[in-house]
């Protein structure tokens, strides 16, 4: 006990340091998020018990997410397509834009609350958060490489072996550690502090218009975009095409009744994640509402609840848009813990 006494003298100094703005910024950037289940939310699907989040593991995951080393030619990082200011969607890109400038066929979704998602991707093709990165890494039009190649590059890298050892407590770079570190980052991207959340907790008031919007939303939209995650995670056809060009869920299930069905996407941060739909066909939420009110295309797999569209008066449209804006979580997109760091 005696030996540790000198440290006590250092405490006030540490306290002074902590009070300085740059130190605060440093501390937030380095603090480690833990998966906290917001009040009223269901139990997460991804279980961190098998992959406990540590500060070194989370920091490694974040570094990997922003490092183009994971792509074949070192040109594209996860963070190239998933941008924090767009709630980790890809602003202004209809479909993904990958290695060598080649376009993919689907729109880049925002990344948040992934730990609650039973399956990932628009068609639910990925069944486990840890295994999701294998898809973009080996997709010839995304990062164009392979998991084996990325592991090999990380092993030869000057810094990573040390960072892996710190994160996992023993030396060794392998694909499991790579995937688990990434999951420590992607799985802790929790967005639950929008104005809507504060309204629900009674901490903030809605304007009458936003209130009307919420009522309309609950009447017409929430059966699929279910609160609090704003998705029921089912696969539905919301009437985009009479003859879908992308088979969607049917690619995975092989079933005809899944033609043109896609996962109901969350609408959290929706004002930030344009363009919209699996192929990014709509640039604005106004266009999305045009679709639901007058553009539903009939087809054998169209969801019956949308057969007659959702007729909306001009006032109702404005109210609905005002409500959708309350789903933006400013603290999430500005959270320094999730931002690229250059250390």
């Amino acid at each position: 006990m005696k030996r540790s006494t000198p440290w006590l003298f250092a405490l006030p100094l540490l306290g002074m340091l902590a009070a300085m703005p740059w130190a605060q910024a440093w501390m937030t950037a380095h603090a480690t998020p833990r998966l906290q289940v917001p009040e009223g939310w269901p139990v997460p699907r991804y279980d961190f018990a098998g992959n406990p989040v540590t500060s070194a593991g989370f920091a490694l995951g974040r570094r990997l997410f922003y490092d183009p080393i994971l792509s074949r030619d070192g040109s594209i990082a996860c963070g190239s397509c998933h941008q924090q200011f767009a709630a980790f969607a890809h602003l202004d890109h209809r479909v993904s834009h990958g290695i060598g400038g080649v376009n993919g066929k689907r729109n880049t979704p925002g990344l948040f609350n992934l730990a609650w998602q039973p399956d990932l991707m628009w068609d639910g093709s990925v069944h486990h958060l840890e295994l999701q990165p294998v898809a973009p890494m080996s997709n010839p039009v995304e990062m164009g490489g392979s998991l084996a190649l990325a592991v090999d590059k990380l092993r030869r890298n000057a810094r990573y072996p040390e960072l892996f050892a710190q994160a996992f407590g023993s030396p060794g770079v392998d694909s499991q550690r790579l995937l688990r570190a990434l999951a420590q980052f992607t799985g802790t991207l929790v967005s639950a502090d929008s104005r809507y959340d504060r309204f629900v907790k009674g901490k903030e008031a809605f304007t009458p218009q936003e209130r009307d919007g919420l009522d309309l939303f609950r009447e017409h939209c929430a059966s699929c975009h279910r609160e609090p995650l704003f998705s029921d995670f089912s696969y539905r056809n919301n009437g985009l095409d009479a003859a879908p060009r992308d088979a969607g869920r049917a690619v995975v299930s092989g079933r005809d009744e899944d033609q043109g069905r896609f996962r109901v996407p969350s609408l959290r941060n929706i004002a930030l994640t344009a363009p919209y739909m699996h192929d990014g066909r709509y640039d604005s939420l106004e266009q999305v509402l045009d679709h639901y009110s007058g553009g539903i295309q009939p087809s054998p797999t169209l969801d019956p609840s949308l057969a007659h569209g959702v007729p909306l008066s001009p006032d109702q449209r404005t109210a609905l848009l005002a409500f959708l804006d309350t789903l933006t979580d400013e603290s999430f997109v500005h959270d320094r813990r999730f931002a690229e760091t250059h250390d």
Partner: protein, 265 residues
Amino acid sequence: MKNRMNLAARHLAAAWLLLLAGCGHGAAQNGLPLRIEISHVVGEAPLRLGDSYKTSAGDGWSAERLRYYLSNFRLRRADSTWFVNPQSADSSRGYFLVDEADAASKQFQIGPIPEGTYSGIEFLVGVDAARNSAGAQTGTLDPARGMFWTWNTGYIFFQFEGHSPQSSDAEHALTYHTGGGADSPARSVFLQFQTPVQVTAENSAELHLYADLSRLFDGAHALRPATLPTAMDPKAAAEVADNSAGLFRIDHIHKLPKAGLAQGQ
């Protein structure tokens, strides 16, 4: 403070010792391992990658790549109880990736097997549903080995790639990949021993399995490269998966003294 550190260090050391004892040489205490050797054949002749063969319907075929998982081994005792080969959630122990192009992958051991009399062996061609959806794995189950689907994540259970003059695919390719999914569990194989196998403190056995590739086409389902050049999703590949389980037979079993096992892996 110091004491606490020491305690933690001691706990850690104890944990390590337990771990070492657990995955190391338990064999000596609990019994001997059983060795399995696999030969890929066509009828009675050894399969040669690149050689041309014919199905009974007259379609030609050749193999360029043949890889598959075997797992969940069990041995049936004379009294109908089972010895279940140990597998552990934190390693790929008990999951074997057999690759025609890699001689070492065609010989492996299960066990240690408790002393007793055994009448048959059972295993899966592929990976059980629980492990198939358990997240990032290591060893033979490392997804970086390429036996992994990303368009419907999970392991490729059985991978056969080759050519057939009758295939309508580009370059006459012949591609059969089976894998899991809600509707397509890994197929189970049971092989009865002609005479029971004794495992004692001094003797184990080597099981020589033949996997006959002609039965991939002329099996429970008659498959023709002319009409099925590609099978790549659980639905299309269901019949290939059934046939993949019908490839295996026991060619012979021989006694393996303890001394002989030491040379094994």
